[in-house]
């Protein structure tokens, strides 16, 4: 009996090693490809192990590409991600909090509207949003990317669920101490909502960092692009562009993977809490 268990245990482990290898392979492939002279890739095919042809030349090409255009994209992406996360958490948490702790007239209506926004994909109202952005002169700006999505219904829903579990006693205590309603929120509730903020930071930041269709429509000039849009503009079979594209792709996912490896459980909680499109 005991022997049988070890056999199936070894079998399972080997099977899982193969599956994990498949899962990690494309990332590894990208990394290896970025470390080889691109002309080899076309002539000899890509070797899957780093041989003596390994070189950082592509990375140096990337850094020099159009006076460091890549770093401009990178900083645009960081700026958009940070601003979107901060604003989205600030506003969404307040709305979710209000829906969770107060009983007020119209609460049901607000809740229904939130579910409606949650259900209807952005792609549908993309054209009028684009027209609106032109009218508001936010085309080709960071504000244009962020503003229409400054409130995240998933985030509101999550905060609402989270605060429903926190008792009224905290709020009553705050009122007796003479706190304003906003004081209660900022001084008492926000610290209690810390785990929810952690999970939502990861969810919103990931969505923002990986965002594609809307930034593709709004952003116009080369120096205003985010990483995914900038890299998309380099996609072609051309070897010279490939020299920039491959290291650029690697460096764009590296920070996420590193942060993930140090905060695995938080990441998993955050990304699964909202039913994000994987």
């Amino acid at each position: 009996m005991k022997k049988k268990i070890t056999v199936s245990s070894v079998g399972l482990t080997i099977g899982m090693i193969l599956i994990a290898a498949c899962a990690l392979f494309p990332v590894y492939f990208l990394l290896v490809a970025s470390l080889q002279p691109t002309q080899y890739m076309f002539s000899r095919g890509l070797s899957l192990v780093l041989g003596d042809t390994a070189t950082l030349a592509n990375y140096l090409t990337l850094f020099d590409y159009r006076d460091g255009l890549y770093f401009t994209w990178y900083s645009n992406s960081i700026l958009i991600t940070v601003l979107q996360t901060v604003f989205s958490l600030f506003f969404s948490s307040m709305v979710g909090y209000a829906l969770g702790v107060y009983r007020f007239r119209g609460r049901g209506l607000v809740f229904t509207l939130m579910l409606l926004v949650m259900m209807i994909p952005v792609e549908i109202i993309m054209l009028p949003l684009y027209k609106l952005s032109i009218a508001m002169k936010t085309i080709n700006t960071i504000a244009g990317v962020i503003l229409p999505f400054i409130l995240s219904p998933i985030c509101i829903f999550f905060f609402q669920q989270f605060v429903s579990g926190i008792g009224d006693s905290f709020m009553e205590a705050g009122r007796i101490d003479g706190c304003t309603e906003f004081g209660i929120y900022f001084r008492i509730m926000v610290p209690l909502m810390k785990p929810a903020f952690g999970a939502m930071t990861i969810l919103i930041a990931m969505q923002s960092w990986n965002g594609f269709l809307w930034p593709l429509i709004v952003l116009r000039t080369n120096t205003n692009l985010t990483l995914p849009i900038g890299l998309a503009s380099l996609i072609s079979a051309d070897a010279q562009k490939m020299e920039v594209l491959l290291p650029g792709a690697v460096l764009s996912i590296l920070p996420i993977v590193i942060v993930f490896l140090f905060n695995q459980s938080k990441f998993i909680d955050g990304l699964t809490s909202g039913g994000v499109k994987a």
Partner: protein, 307 residues
């Protein structure tokens, strides 16, 4: 006089800051504002636009249902078909494999469980566009491409993957499945971890086999999670855009990789036919609402959160 004004000022201040009947409206005001400007108004406008013939956003002319009747064309039919095939494939694969993997990484027989969970989850962190850059290379039409090399191993010949309908669809399905397995596995895993061990122990006493336990205990208890993944995957399937864009950046030759949102994008932003684009959007809305209704009617709202 000044006293009166002072007290008035104070009462306004207390109304704004201390009144617990008024405070919730202050908190939800940003949502209402953003809902009206960035949701309701665009929503009304898209319906209006779908009945107009426009050049860009100018020269709107009422054309009735003309844009809708134009939808009965070869390209849109292809887009609908591609989306449907793509969705069916991703639903089947992205539900079965993650369920099995979740059981595997939850099993005590497996060593290094956390390592496996992390490795399988990593693809879900990568954006479809960046992952697509790697998949493009692997699906290269040259003899040196990875999947062509694999074909050679089995005595096949090289394929121009992105030039065939089925191979093109396969490319998109592979990319999506690769990205979604990790997160779906984690959904299943968190549901599995809530199942008490006693259930399995009593099944052991009854002499149930491993397969029997999976079929009779695990799957029924996973049902709410699986329904949740099911809906998410279908909606994501019909919204798909990036997976198509990354493989066929400029055009979709012979409609390979043409999806609903891709068609909407082409017609509105590349051809400037905004009225027609709006009609495509309305059809997409119809599809999404049918899926949502089935989810609400059949399974109750947000079954995952409730469970």
């Amino acid at each position: 006089m000044t006293d009166k004004r002072k007290s008035e000022k104070k009462s306004i201040k207390s109304l704004l800051l201390y009144n617990k009947n008024f405070a919730p409206y202050m908190f939800v005001a940003p949502f209402i504002l953003s809902f009206l400007i960035f949701f309701l108004y665009p929503f009304i406008e898209i319906v209006w636009m779908s009945f107009m013939k426009m050049e860009g956003f100018k020269n709107a002319k009422f054309v009735g249902f003309d844009n809708y009747s134009r939808l009965f064309n070869y390209h849109f039919g292809n887009a609908l078909l591609t989306n449907t095939i793509f969705t069916v494939c991703t639903v089947v694969i992205s539900m079965t494999i993650p369920t099995l993997l979740a059981v595997a990484v939850n099993s005590k027989l497996l060593k290094f469980r956390n390592g496996f969970r992390a490795s399988i989850f990593i693809p879900s962190l990568v954006s479809a566009l960046i992952a697509g850059i790697a998949f493009r290379l692997m699906f290269s039409d040259m003899d040196s491409g990875l999947f062509n090399q694999i074909l050679h191993l089995f005595g096949g010949e090289s394929i121009a993957w992105n030039m065939g309908y089925w191979s093109g669809t396969l490319m998109m399905v592979t990319l999506t499945v690769w990205k979604s397995i990790g997160i779906n596995m984690v959904y299943c895993l968190s549901a599995l971890q809530t199942i008490s061990k006693d259930v399995y122990e009593s099944a052991d006493i009854d002499g149930a086999s491993g397969f029997h336990k999976f079929w009779k205990i695990t799957l029924p208890l996973l049902k709410p999670t699986l329904i949740y993944i099911f809906t998410l995957t279908i909606i994501a399937g019909y919204r798909m855009f990036t997976e198509s864009y990354v493989y066929w950046v400029d055009t979709t030759p012979g409609d390979i990789g043409l999806t609903i949102v891709r068609y909407l994008y082409q017609m509105s932003f590349q051809r400037n036919d905004m009225g027609f684009g709006a009609a495509i959007g309305i059809v997409l809305l119809g599809i999404i609402m049918i899926i949502n209704l089935i989810q609400l009617r059949g399974f109750g709202m947000f079954s995952k959160e409730k469970s």
